[in-house]
């Protein structure tokens, strides 16, 4: 059983499209995150939710909108995709907001053409 699973694993789309990436964790954790890894492999947090409540929103364009229907899911919707959005997006979860260990998903490689 995969602890943190993301779908799809690969996503190729054209500029201007809208796409979603889904994330689910079966660990019973309260807190979930989205991280972006750019072409130079640099990882940066985008969002964090704790019990469906947004707690971290880094300086991310408004085109990115996270949605947490329940605490086991944190989806990422991206409007009007741009070339610069091409990256690997990682979902992660931790037991609670102050927990020390985060578990990561396998990543979604988004390519905008």
């Amino acid at each position: 059983d995969t602890a943190v699973s993301q779908t799809p694993k690969y996503l190729v789309t054209q500029m201007g499209n809208d796409k979603s990436i889904k994330c689910e964790q079966n660990l019973g954790h309260d807190t979930m995150y989205w991280y972006k890894q750019d072409s130079k492999k640099f990882l940066k947090i985008m969002f964090s939710y704790n019990n469906k409540e947004l707690i971290i929103n880094e300086t991310v364009p408004n085109r990115f909108s996270p949605k947490s229907p329940d605490k086991a899911h944190l989806n990422l919707h991206i409007n009007s995709l741009e070339l610069g959005d091409s990256a690997v997006y990682f979902c992660a979860s931790s037991q609670r907001q102050g927990a020390m260990v985060a578990f990561f998903g396998q990543g979604t490689r988004l390519t905008v053409v």
Partner: protein
């Protein structure tokens, strides 16, 4: 604000040689320190963490790291590497009160050659 610097972007070594991957951090408050490993086309896996206590921490796959507060460093070491250790290694920090977010270094690509 916190920052993490991994001093080497690439480290090539031969199999069974020792290796050290260097990590320095900057923070005005106490931090917790982590090393994550990313194998090709996979997610991040926690190698080890320093929260408090003994400054020498041991992790999975024979890796260990030493927290040095005076030098603000958290270098990762392994006495003898295997081909299977070839991966990208990330050092990360977090503070207690920032919602759990991790701040990552730029990564070090460890390449183990036969």
């Amino acid at each position: 604000a916190q920052s993490v610097t991994q001093l080497d972007s690439q480290v090539p070594v031969f199999e069974e040689a020792p290796v050290e991957l260097r990590c320095n951090y900057s923070s005005s408050v106490s931090v917790y320190l982590f090393w994550y490993v990313q194998y090709p086309n996979q997610g991040l896996q926690l190698l080890l963490k320093y929260l408090s206590g003994s400054t020498l921490v041991k992790g999975i796959n024979g890796f260990e790291a030493e927290f040095n507060k005076s030098q603000t460093s958290f270098h990762l070491r392994k006495p003898s590497v295997h081909i299977s250790d070839t991966a990208e290694y990330f050092c990360a920090v977090r503070t207690y009160n920032q919602g759990g977010k991790l701040i990552f270094g730029q990564g070090t690509e460890l390449s183990v050659k036969p």
